[in-house]
């Protein structure tokens, strides 16, 4: 179990993580989501004792990372940035890590096999492709057969086959009872991999809920209503409990009410309806809506407009 308590980390003036608390439990894949620069990698480095928090603590099964005697056996980590000397072979890279805590050479070959790098075991890591480098990082994470895995964007650089492989692999590790904490900035990826989501934006917690719950929320319908009597219709819908946003003179977006009910209200009040279109936002859109306020690096132009849920595409 990973436990973060009031974690705060500043880099100069920049607050990367702000009073962040959460727990990650065993037996499931927990997705750690947030837009670019949200502080995911920073949080993971704090958990792993690489960076020092300004305030708060991070513990793994009740211990700080630095207190672990055989850390590789407790926690396996894959970092965002490369952590390999390019002049060293894959085997020697793993060997020097293994030797620090009495992990056998047999295990090195096992993990190389597991990630599919056996054939290049004695090749220098500097010549590896992005995906191979990622696999080597995973091999290092698995070296100690750890009960807790902390993986920072593990699908980075992997081909579709690799992505599928790691997705299956993470779920398998979780099914074995391990704690799997994996970051991503892709909602859809996490929706199919993670059972639980921790979402942050600008270093602060935004949501901490089961994935299923988030998907339900994401599926919340918006109904687009066009009517020449939009004003009066809006009032009627609001009275009946719907949440109305007026898009223009004769167009409304209605939430918390389905199309049938809207039709009934319109009919009862004698309002003419031109269109009633239920819209279903994608999960990605729900995620963007949730994190919109806290997007760190918005592109130029008004992405805020472009992000707004428009036409319906089915959720995952």
């Amino acid at each position: 179990m990973i436990e973060a308590k009031n974690l705060t980390k500043r880099y100069g003036d920049k607050v990367a993580v702000k009073d962040l608390s959460f727990t990650v439990g065993p037996g499931k894949v927990t997705g750690f989501l947030g837009p670019n620069g949200a502080g995911k990698s920073t949080t993971m480095r704090l958990i792993l004792g690489l960076d020092h928090p300004d305030r708060g603590t991070a513990t793994i099964d009740g211990k700080r990372y630095r207190e672990l005697t055989t850390p590789l056996a407790a926690v396996g980590a894959l970092l965002e940035a490369k952590a390999v000397h390019p002049g060293r072979t894959a085997y020697n890279h793993l060997l020097c890590l293994a030797q620090s805590q009495g992990i056998s050479k047999k295990r090195i070959y096992e993990v190389l096999d597991l990630v599919g790098l056996s054939e290049v075991a004695h090749k220098r890591a500097g010549g590896f492709s992005l995906g191979m480098g990622q696999r080597l990082g995973l091999a290092a994470a698995l070296l100690g057969d750890p009960a807790v895995l902390v993986l920072d964007e593990p699908v980075n650089g992997l081909d579709p086959e690799g992505i599928l492989w790691i997705r299956t692999f993470m779920r398998q590790l979780a099914a074995e009872g391990r704690t799997v904490f994996v970051s991503s900035h892709l909602m859809n990826e996490m929706a199919v991999t993670a059972e639980h989501l921790i979402i942050i934006g600008r270093g602060s917690l935004i949501a901490d809920c089961p994935t299923q719950e988030f998907i339900e929320q994401g599926k919340k319908q918006t109904v687009l209503v066009r009517s020449p009597n939009a004003g009066e219709l809006a009032a009627a819908i609001t009275r009946a409990g719907g949440a109305v946003t007026r898009n223009d003179d004769n167009e409304l977006s209605v939430e918390d009410m389905d199309a049938t009910r809207i039709g009934e209200i319109a009919s009862a009040g004698g309002h003419v309806l031109h269109e009633v279109v239920p819209q279903r936002g994608t999960l990605e859109e729900a995620f963007m809506a949730l994190t919109r306020e806290s997007v760190e690096y918005a592109g130029t132009g008004s992405t805020r407009e472009a992000d707004a849920p428009k036409s319906g595409g089915g959720a995952e």
């Binding site: 004792g49 055989t70 000397h85």
Partner: protein, 276 residues
């Protein structure tokens, strides 16, 4: 798929963590990158060859050499032999010492290292131990080989042997000096964390700045120079304490050791405090 399966109680593959394991690990790191072979190979090659070259020149120019210089050479042939190839070869050790830690930062390897060895001071200690022992072994071989080559070449003019007072200590001392220099460079590398900057500053200091302090006027220059780390440390490569040396060979080496220890303490403090 909720948490029904029991979490594995303990990993089945890792058994123990020990300082021996850390030493093993650092040894693997050291031997598995090319720069180590290059630096040590260069030392083993340059030291004896430059000793041969420079002692050869001394012998060739013997007849034109002033009598005062001749008697200086005759008074401590060991220092002449050991000192000649030495200046050329010590940058190899500076480079190695800095690289051993700074390249971990430049490649990102430091993060993998610290994940495996979160006790940072133990890691630094193991690194220093392995580095200095390896450098000591290679340097001792290079120093003995250089001494024997130099003594043989010089023999027609001045007799020099390991049996001379202080000679054996000087040869072994040269190895000790290079081992200490590797630690000195390691400390600088750990403080600076950049390969190019670290290497440049160590070499500039050792080869240029420290010797230049000698030129400062008066007693101040004399004392400042005598207590500079590498300049003091070099005294151990002399068989005898020369006139004008403020420190004995061992005192000089002690001064170098204290400087190195102080830098290592600073390096350790920073390593512990800074984000990786």
């Amino acid at each position: 798929m909720t948490a029904t399966a029991a979490r594995p109680t303990a990993s089945t593959v890792a058994s123990r963590a020990s300082f021996g394991g850390l030493l093993h690990s650092e040894w693997t790191k050291l031997r598995s990158v090319r720069s180590t072979g290059w630096s040590l190979g260069l030392l083993a090659l340059l030291y004896p060859s430059f000793t041969a070259l420079l002692v050869g020149l001394t012998v060739a120019n013997w007849d034109q050499t002033a009598a005062s210089d001749r008697s200086l050479i005759a008074s401590d042939p060991t220092a002449v032999i050991l000192g000649s190839g030495f200046l050329i070869s010590q940058p190899a050790i500076c480079v190695l010492g800095v690289m051993v830690i700074a390249s971990e930062y430049s490649t990102g390897m430091i993060r993998a290292s610290l994940l495996a060895k979160p006790r940072r001071l133990s890691m630094l200690a193991a690194k220093g131990a392995v580095l200095s022992l390896v450098v000591l072994a290679v340097s001792l071989v290079a120093a003995f080989v250089s001494f024997f080559i130099g003594a043989a070449m010089l023999s027609e003019k001045v007799a020099a042997s390991l049996g001379d007072p202080g000679a054996l200590r000087a040869v072994v001392g040269t190895g000790l000096y290079l081992a200490m220099l590797s630690l000195f460079s390691l400390a600088i590398g750990a403080i600076v964390r950049r390969t190019a900057a670290g290497i440049t500053s160590v070499i500039m200091f050792v080869l240029v700045l420290a010797p230049l302090v000698q030129l400062l006027p008066g007693k101040f220059g004399e004392y400042a120079h005598a207590y500079l780390p590498t300049e003091a440390g070099l005294l151990i490569g002399q068989a005898i304490q020369h006139e004008g040396d403020l420190l004995t060979p061992w005192q000089g080496f002690g001064v170098f050791g204290l400087w190195t220890a102080a830098l290592l303490v600073l390096a350790a403090f920073l390593l512990n405090r800074r984000d990786a």
